[in-house]
């Protein structure tokens, strides 16, 4: 393909600009920056590749500054001797291609794009920019077109005979495999079929495991229940037997204890009865003895007798004592009187008469006789006075004695009276003597005491009960004894256990009871488990089938993935194997160009096309190095070689124009000369368009297009120089 003319309208700085290109090397020069070199280059790319209906900002931004309308491009070119015109109106969104030997007319962008791809060798601007368009600032920038480069090389190698590019198949398979495996390694919002099936298998497995565990547990409990039921029946049977035997022995023991107790009660009652009888006899005996004591009817009477008798005796005693005192007093008074004879004499009538005689003789003598006879009067008076006094005392004594004697007499009489009263009392008591009374009284009280003792004892024994009650009690005991003895059957007697056996049996019953309780607990627990079970065997079977179905589906999908992965692996191997020839070709071409550009310094290059990685053998370093590790100029030289090799390999005989945007600024003069010489040779096959500020390429230029400040208003051909060499 060779460009012949371009017309840009309303395109950035160009309101209406045109340029014509010649075969060979075209040099687009602008002495200064911002004269439109880059704009013209961009215009060529837009005219070749871009969709006029694109609303992409980077496309829309190509419209002239301040313009309300979008731009238009018109590009003329030749291909295999035929002329073509491709026009694009980005304002109207139209594209049109006309020309060729068949005078074809295409007016949709799709048609235009397809045809341009056939003519140019690609419809990817990215591939074109990575190979045919070499811009100084982006000379090493090839990674952005890695995918397109790979596909193009594949097409190159396969000659475009494949129905579908293997790389696209690999992409599809990668996509499909990734889609199916999504969520396997890490959580995904929308997991793929494998993760989904695995999750479902896990879920169902978990559920199945739960159900299986429960069903197993329930089944185990059911089996255990049967065993427990059997054991429980045996234990219950044995327990009932032992329990019955124990009960019999308990009953027997109770009966025997009851009989023993009743016998004891009976003995007590009998003893009581004996005591009662004895006391009753004592009572009776005492009562009879009391009855035999004549004159003594009751205690009150006896007490009254005794009181009266004692009263009489006390009185008699008192009187007797008083009588004795009085008699002693009388005796003393008499004795005293006897002992005072002078007083008795003086007081006697003779004494008084003698005293009176003396007194009278004294008086008379005094009167008649001498005076000394007065003394006789005094003696007579004194004697009289003494006699009178003695007489008084004598009378008093005699009265006193007389009184005592009278009293004694009365006392004696009273004593006699008391004696009679006592006698009467004794008579009333039908006793002859007091001694008899005393004996009877003593006997009376003896028997009375006996009787009272017997009564008290009876009362004590009976404790308020009547002897009839005792008899009733006795009868009751006898009846109960009969009943209890009747209860003591032969069976109870025959099953009698020794105390040791009884204790042993009790222990056995306790053990059996504990065992029975334990078994019943186990049974209840098992039944509760079975009753509480949420899942059954049917559900387990359903889940088993579901799980098997899911596992089968998972196996199927895993197999499918293995099929896809195997297909992918072998397609990849086939592709790599097939493309290895492309690698070799690419490697050879790069080596050839790189050796030219470096003046033969670097001869060996290694290419990893898949990764677009390169290594250059450095003789200086004696090792393989990455191009980026070389100097700036060498890097530019390497990637220029790579791009040219790539363009040759990818586009083959399409031979699109090579657009070089000043990529030689880092070349030294020798290498630049070699390069330009090579480009001059290359220009016989390729149209080369070099954009530059420099005049360095004028010598090799077949056409020079000068850009100036005024070019934005210039019409095509206004300052076009044709320097055909």
């Amino acid at each position: 393909m060779r460009l012949t003319k371009i017309q840009l309208t309303n395109f950035k700085r160009f309101s209406d600009y045109g340029a014509e290109f010649s075969p060979g090397i075209n040099v687009v020069k602008g002495p200064l920056n911002e004269m439109g070199k880059s704009t013209l280059l961009e215009g060529i790319i837009v005219a070749l590749f871009h969709n006029p209906r694109s609303m992409a900002k980077e496309i829309r931004d190509y419209a002239a500054w301040g313009s309300t309308r979008q731009f238009r491009t018109s590009l003329e070119f030749e291909h295999e001797g035929n002329r073509y015109l491709v026009e694009k109106d980005f304002d109207k969104g139209t594209a049109r291609l006309s020309g060729g030997h068949a005078r074809e007319e295409l007016d949709t962008f799709k048609q235009v794009s397809e045809r341009m791809a056939e003519l140019l060798g690609t419809k990817s601007d990215r591939l074109f920019l990575c190979s045919c368009c070499i811009r100084q600032s982006q000379v090493t920038e090839v990674s952005s077109g890695k995918k397109e480069i790979g596909e193009s090389l594949e097409e190159v190698v396969t000659g475009g005979k494949e129905s579908t590019l293997a790389s696209q198949v690999l992409q599809k398979l990668d996509g499909k495999i990734a889609d199916m495996k999504r969520g396997l390694d890490k959580l995904a919002k929308n997991p793929g079929i494998l993760a989904d099936l695995k999750n479902r298998v896990q879920d169902v497995s978990r559920k199945y495991s739960e159900v299986q565990d429960e069903v197993s547990r329930v089944e185990a409990h059911k089996v255990e229940l049967v065993e427990v039921d059997g054991q429980l029946a045996e234990v219950k049977n044995e327990y009932e037997k032992c329990r019955a035997l124990l009960e019999k022995n308990k009953q027997r023991k109770e009966i025997e204890a009851s009989v023993e107790r009743l016998n004891k009660d009976y003995s007590s009652v009998e003893e009581l009865r004996g005591s009662i009888n004895r006391h009753q006899e004592d009572f009776k005996k005492a009562d009879e003895a009391l009855g035999l004591i004549e004159g003594f009817t009751d205690k009150q009477q006896v007490l009254e007798f005794r009181g009266r008798l004692d009263d009489l005796r006390r009185k008699r005693s008192d009187i007797g004592k008083d009588l004795a005192e009085r008699e002693r007093e009388l005796a003393e008074a008499k004795g005293k009187l006897d002992r005072r004879k002078s007083v008795t004499f003086l007081g006697s009538e003779k004494g008084i008469a003698g005293a009176a005689a003396v007194l009278a003789g004294g008086i008379i003598g005094t009167l008649v006789g001498p005076l000394y006879l007065l003394s006789l009067v005094v003696v007579g008076a004194a004697l009289l006075a003494i006699s009178m006094r003695a007489r008084t005392a004598l009378i008093r004594d005699r009265v006193g004695i007389s009184g005592v004697e009278e009293r004694i007499q009365r006392m004696k009489e009273f004593l006699d009276e008391l004696g009679r009263d006592e006698q009467e009392l004794l008579t009333e008591a039908r006793c002859q003597t007091s001694a008899e009374f005393n004996d009877r009284e003593k006997s009376f009280y003896h028997w009375l005491q006996k009787k009272e003792e017997a009564r008290y004892r009876l009362e004590g024994i009976l404790s308020g009960k009547a002897t009839e009650d005792i008899e009733k009690r006795r009868s009751e005991i006898i009846r109960k004894l009969a009943v209890e003895e009747a209860r003591l059957t032969e069976d109870l007697v025959e099953t009698r256990l020794s105390p040791e056996e009884y204790v042993e049996l009790e222990r056995k019953v306790q053990g059996l009871e504990a065992k029975r309780n334990e078994l019943e607990d186990r049974k209840r627990y098992g039944m509760a488990i079975i009753k509480a079970a949420k899942h059954d065997v049917e559900e387990q079977t359903g889940l088993e089938e579901e799980l098997e179905s899911l596992r089968e589906a998972l196996r199927h999908e895993e197999k499918k993935v293995r099929v896809y992965e195997l297909a992918r692996e072998f397609i990849s191997r086939a592709r790599v194997g097939t493309l290895s020839s492309a690698d070799e070709s690419l490697q050879g071409e790069i080596q050839r160009y790189f050796a030219i550009f470096t003046n033969g310094k670097y001869q060996r290059v290694e290419v990893n096309k898949e990764a677009l990685e390169f290594r250059v053998y450095s003789d200086e370093k004696g090792d393989w190095v990455r191009p980026e590790d070389l100097s700036g100029g060498v890097v530019d030289e390497f990637y220029l070689a790579f791009r040219l090799a790539l363009a040759g390999l990818i586009f083959g005989d399409k031979k699109p124009p090579l657009i070089l945007d000043d990529p030689f600024v880092n070349f030294d003069s020798v290498r630049l000369a070699n390069t330009l010489s090579f480009l001059k040779t290359l220009a016989s096959d390729y149209q080369i368009i070099i954009f530059t500020l420099s005049d360095s390429y004028d010598e090799v230029a077949d056409n020079i297009i000068l850009l100036s400040e005024g070019d934005k208003q210039q019409r095509m051909g206004d300052k076009q120089e044709w320097n055909l060499i």
Partner: protein
């Protein structure tokens, strides 16, 4: 397995330059060296691969 895929025997191996042909050759070698389920998978991989390289939508 998509039965519309060409059978192994129908694959032409005369175009060694094509990735498709190389793929068929490699797969046939693999099939020969495999057995059982692996062989079945390999045969399926061959059929899928051919269908995909022929531009058929079989995924």
């Amino acid at each position: 397995v998509d039965r519309s895929h060409p059978k192994v025997g129908h694959v032409s191996e005369d175009e060694e330059r094509l990735i498709r042909s190389r793929f068929v050759t490699l797969m046939n070698e693999q099939i020969e060296n495999s057995a059982g389920e692996e062989r079945e998978i390999t045969e399926n991989a061959l059929q899928y691969g051919i269908a995909l390289l022929d531009g058929k939508e079989v995924l």
